[in-house]
Amino acid sequence: MGISLMYYLLVSGGLFALGLLGVLIRRNPLLLLLSVELMLNGANVALIGFSRHWNSTDGQVFALVVMVVAAAEVVIGLGLIVAVFRQRIALDVDGMDHLKG
């Protein structure tokens, strides 16, 4: 008895939905970023599962590129959070609703 693509897609969808829920309901920007990581990991599970299903390396290459994008996103996101924190603004995304140059 092996594993089928179905199980990978179920886990992937579950991770993505939990991450989406976190992005929508959390107010702390740090936890928002953590939830985005969950969504990216859900996508990666689907990519790796499909790569195994079609017996091709391309899905894994795509997953590695997604990891690079995730690293870049975390660097910029944490930079923004630290910049906001140094302005003595409360870390609450519901309060950050003004944009000013």
Binding site: S4, L5, A17, L18, L30, L38, N55, Q60, L64
Partner: protein, 174 residues
């Protein structure tokens, strides 16, 4: 059978720790919970003949990205008190209902789909996940993507430096 048991344990660990990331209110605990999810996902990668991706998942994700998170959480320290009393955002219940509807739709789509071989066990895997195969794919067919990756990382580093510089300048101006 052993494969299935390992898959079930890893999947349960991934989803359970993900639920912890979404529900825990302490950012430090949420980040540690994310490590659990990432390691479980690495096991899922190993079971899908992707040892290189699993190694990168552990080294780059759990090793570097989450440590960066933990560093920032420790640097920010005790947060200023929240404005509102509720820890979740406005309309949290509505959002949860929307996500629930999405999950139901996705499940229906998944169960009704007729992708060939989707429910059958995976066939014997070729050499698709070894460092050699990944490296050959990167320099052979995906060399442009490889170069674009380096550009993305460079721009991210530049952006982070600029953000930090502006934050420091803004503080000095007061």
């Amino acid at each position: 059978m052993g494969e299935r048991i390992a898959f079930a344990i890893a999947a349960a660990g991934a989803l359970g720790c993900a639920a912890g990331v979404v529900t825990l209110s302490n950012p430090f605990r949420a980040a540690v919970s994310l490590i659990g999810t990432l390691l479980s996902v690495a096991v899922l990668f190993l079971l899908a003949a992707a040892p290189f991706a699993a190694a990168i998942q552990v080294i780059v994700y759990a090793g570097a990205i989450v440590v960066l998170f933990l560093f920032v959480i420790a640097y920010l320290g005790e947060r200023p008190p929240r404005i509102g009393p509720d820890p979740m955002g406005r309309w949290a219940f509505l959002m949860a209902t929307g996500v629930g509807v999405l999950v139901a739709l996705g499940l229906i789509g998944l169960l009704r789909s007729h992708l060939p071989g989707m429910r059958a066990a995976f066939a014997e895997a070729g050499d698709i996940g070894s460092p050699r195969a990944i490296g050959m794919a990167f320099v052979d067919t995906h060399s442009l993507v490889f170069e674009a990756t380096s550009l993305v990382l460079l721009i991210a580093a530049l952006g982070a430096v600029l953000l930090a510089r502006r934050a420091v300048l803004g503080e000095r101006g007061r």
